[in-house]
Assembly symmetry: none
Homo-oligomer: 147 residues x 4
Amino acid sequence: MTEDFRAMHGLYLEDLKTGMSAQFGKTVGEADIQAFAGVSGDTNPIHLHQGFAATSRFGQRIAHGMLSASFISTVVGTKLPGPGSIYISQSLNFKAPVKIGDTVTAVCTIVDIDAAKRRVRLATECRVGTTVVLDGEAVILVPRRPA
Amino acid sequence: MTEDFRAMHGLYLEDLKTGMSAQFGKTVGEADIQAFAGVSGDTNPIHLHQGFAATSRFGQRIAHGMLSASFISTVVGTKLPGPGSIYISQSLNFKAPVKIGDTVTAVCTIVDIDAAKRRVRLATECRVGTTVVLDGEAVILVPRRPA
Amino acid sequence: MTEDFRAMHGLYLEDLKTGMSAQFGKTVGEADIQAFAGVSGDTNPIHLHQGFAATSRFGQRIAHGMLSASFISTVVGTKLPGPGSIYISQSLNFKAPVKIGDTVTAVCTIVDIDAAKRRVRLATECRVGTTVVLDGEAVILVPRRPA
Amino acid sequence: MTEDFRAMHGLYLEDLKTGMSAQFGKTVGEADIQAFAGVSGDTNPIHLHQGFAATSRFGQRIAHGMLSASFISTVVGTKLPGPGSIYISQSLNFKAPVKIGDTVTAVCTIVDIDAAKRRVRLATECRVGTTVVLDGEAVILVPRRPA
């Protein structure tokens, strides 16, 4: 007998409707920025060096834009539609900086379902309070529920 | 006397030409996937759970697509154009999975420079060997060299 | 066809001149100290234990000296001369403590080039503001540009 | 009443003799190299990128030299003389590469004690098996035992 991991699977195509929405986010601390720099290799001093950042247009260290983008991937990969779906594409428009201590919330909302192709389109947005810091669109391939 | 961090600045608009290219990459180990899951919160079992992953279409755990995307951000933020530039947008098309132990190389190449708007467009690609696993385009705002 | 990684190579001997300089640094947060303690095993309470550190001559937790030293290695290994060069030796004189929240900048400057032996000598210094916290000298073996 | 942390203090000048020795080391895994790259910012592809490393003189990824150096600091800061001593200087001669999976042992041995100046000199060496991969000398300022 083998283990059965179907209970870990996320939503199936049949479970989805336009307008469904899910969120993930976290308060971005200095340790998150250091960890993201470590795993990505992005050591840009705007993220890591207070002296350089103070002379920049932002006046202080800011988080990596791809850290906020990764929170969108977290919604897609863990909630809507969740495990078992396949990421096809993502567009990202960086609108405003995220500062150390800001709380970022990624919100994903289904805007279109192409049932024949099993492709789902989501509006994807990251917010700090009511400010949109990142927006764009995701396309996800979603499996049908097994018979 | 204040410190001078101009030596940390990357390339300026005047330094850039169409066709210029830069690379960053790394061998993606299990520790990278765990670190990325930790900082992003993307705990999708396709990345973390061998049992679930073995039953998936990939047959094994794969890296987060956004980890490869972050290597593009590393090229932009540390090399071409480097510190001082502003990320405007990025499109991402996920083409093939990255498996544990694969070496991913992000390659960014300038395809267009709008000098009036100071906007630079880069073709952005991640490769494992000769397979393109991710492609897309970045738009970056680049400062002019100070007088 | 094999991949070509020459674009990842740093500067060659022919590219170097006495007086050339490069920098790397970061703001040293609590998470950096914990990460450095973890990977190095240096769990000295002067770095990790606020109670012990408060009774020390420094009056507070300080960063590992080898963390600052590692920023010198970052300049050498990623910027001047960068990938492809070989670290021969490094001397380190610890001059002043680095406190949590301090921004450390490592500055490396070429002081001598022995072209026959392909050996380059750099003055290496870490600063917090205008205070030198660490100085010393690096010797690096640098390859000639391939024909 | 305040807490008493004297039990955390290491050896005092009166405890030390020429010839005393202590060791620390660890097996250097891929995760150590990734963590060290993260905290130091040293993303040199010789450490992180299997493709680039395969074309290098080492033929494979190697650990950061400063990671081995940090194990010397671990001996000094936690064992000989341990907490309460002050790192004055360290010289480092990098003799041979450390590969992923190698077990590095740092060995520190007291070679001279200047009791008037409270300065202790240690021969410091890192070994993989019987190969010396790093050697040099440390100078440490050691407090006298409180009356």
